[in-house]
Symmetry: C2
Subunit: 322 residues, 2 copies
């Protein structure tokens, strides 16, 4: 059972972590933010969330630079970029006790598995955010589409406390759903992320409108979606054709949205190529699904997005926009 | 039989047309250049060819703005961009008599077929230039690798006069060979053009060194080459694996070369997407060869390189580099 006022830690307070952390804090949770580069700005000015319907500021913020200063929580929300997963143990382990639930909201595949290296699998949840958010400056998050969140078990079946986490998000004003299959939700999310995060980079660093306005980019998006659909099928998940087309239609209805991967690419930051593209490709191939279009996109992105310098700060020094 | 001093017309006096036209003129041919944008510059200053071993200037130049002013020739060399093939009849027909040979040196597939719409097939030859040339300014052509040219019949088998055309190029100092199969030579050339013209654009407008320095781009180049190899095989041409690898090795040995397609892309000019990528894709698919990586590259390039404005000058007005 989650406490009435659960202790929540947010690891990785960028767009996703900051947004949900603020909503949960406003709904009465005891939220502790683990901050890095934005620490000073957030401590001084708090977090501001701007949404189409309303804007609000959370101030003061319970911000920290070390997870040891937070200690064990009821719920740990991991919203780090997956490219920083090498730091996961150091950042998350001090927050985890025997009763703690750890919810990863990270992009792509392989994140719950990375947590499972040091957190018992039964304590791990995964969440898929179908949402359009950008952190436009330190402590300022713009939300263009509040969207939905799907939360499911990493291992095993339905447990009551997972429903409680879903309800916690609902109380915070989020359209939240329990996902009976986290794996299926992950594949469904990739139906969008693979073509749109990928092609906005491959097209030179453009917003989603450039993709859906071009019949050729849209056709390529469709072909990529079909490969993801086939890989999901081989993993036991049926994603109907209607869903694919609905993703294109929803993207047409959106404004010019800039996926986080594209913003990372343009800014010369490390791009989540492995979790969004590499791991799904390997999982498809492990079931003998041919994904040559994804493979092409993957190699292209690997070539376009070189790894970061070895200073561990995730910012490439070798990177030069062509 | 070609005359001792054959009348030669060059249609499309860019890098390829200007280069071979100058070499043939220097070797004693009576060469007439059909010029468009570069007319004034070439008439004033002639053509200058810069090669690693030597440089020379052809002056005065027999330049024209209308093909009617040239009239029928012994040999017409077509080196127009294939994107301008809609003007082929207007530009070439006035140069063709019953004895005229028409040699297309254009990139990709479908060019001889476009000529065959108004020139008898037996009068058409095709040539493949394995050469590194750039027109660096009006009338100035830089040659980084003199390379080789393969000339073959469009239709039917070996004819003596085709050998004479090969010998004409040899006398002009070109390593020229008779190709027993123009179609095979076309596929072999595409083994290089498809990955390198394509990926230098897809990588944002870079030179070939960026491709061969990246293990991921190089791997993608290799995968694309294998699809071209498979399509060639289905059309009856055996291209050995060694040839594929030799193309990568030769590219490593080159300096940072900028393929013409990439230069067109960066300058906002129309790119030869259909002849280099679209037509080979369709020919592979017509033999039931799956070419999903080429298909991916094709759609990506179609999206990146929008068609020109309808003013007929081949320069896109809608184009904006992202």
């Amino acid at each position: 059972m989650l406490a009435d006022k659960p202790r929540v830690a947010i690891v990785g307070a960028g767009a996703i972590g900051g947004y949900y952390g603020c909503l949960l804090a406003r709904a009465g949770c005891d939220v502790h933010f683990l901050l890095r580069g934005d620490y000073d700005a957030v401590m001084q000015r708090g977090f501001t969330v701007r949404r189409p319907d309303e804007s609000f500021t959370l101030y003061p913020v319970q911000g920290y630079q070390n997870p040891q200063d937070i200690g064990p929580c009821d719920l740990v929300i991991v919203a780090l970029k997956s490219t920083a997963n090498r730091h996961l143990h150091k950042l998350v382990a001090p927050l985890v006790g025997g009763h703690t639930l750890v919810l990863t909201l990270q992009n792509g595949m392989g994140n719950a598995e990375a947590l499972a290296e040091f957190v018992p699998a039964v304590q791990i949840l995964g969440g898929l955010c179908f949402v359009c958010l950008n952190r436009v400056e330190p402590g300022v998050i713009e939300c263009y589409m509040p969207g939905r969140i799907f939360i499911g078990e990493f291992m095993g079946s339905y447990r009551q406390r997972t429903i409680e986490v879903v309800e916690l998000f609902e109380r915070a004003g989020v359209q939240a759903y329990f996902s009976r299959s986290l794996d299926e939700s992950l594949w469904r999310k990739l139906v969008w992320n693979i073509p749109f995060n990928g092609l906005t980079i491959a097209a030179g660093g453009v917003a989603t409108d450039r993709i859906v306005q071009s019949e050729h980019f849209t056709q390529l998006a469709r072909l990529l979606m079909r490969e993801v659909q086939a890989a999901a099928r081989a993993h036991g998940h049926y994603i109907p054709d209607d869903f694919l087309e609905s993703q294109i239609e929803e993207t047409r209805a959106m404004d010019a949205y800039k996926p986080s991967s594209m913003l990372d690419y343009v800014a010369g930051r490390e791009v989540e190529v492995e979790s969004i593209f590499g791991e799904p490709l390997r999982r498809g191939m492990s079931k003998s699904v041919v994904m040559p279009r994804l493979e092409t996109l993957y190699y292209l992105l690997k070539g376009l997005c070189p790894p970061p310098a070895k200073d561990g700060h995730g910012k490439s020094k070798h990177r030069k926009k062509a």
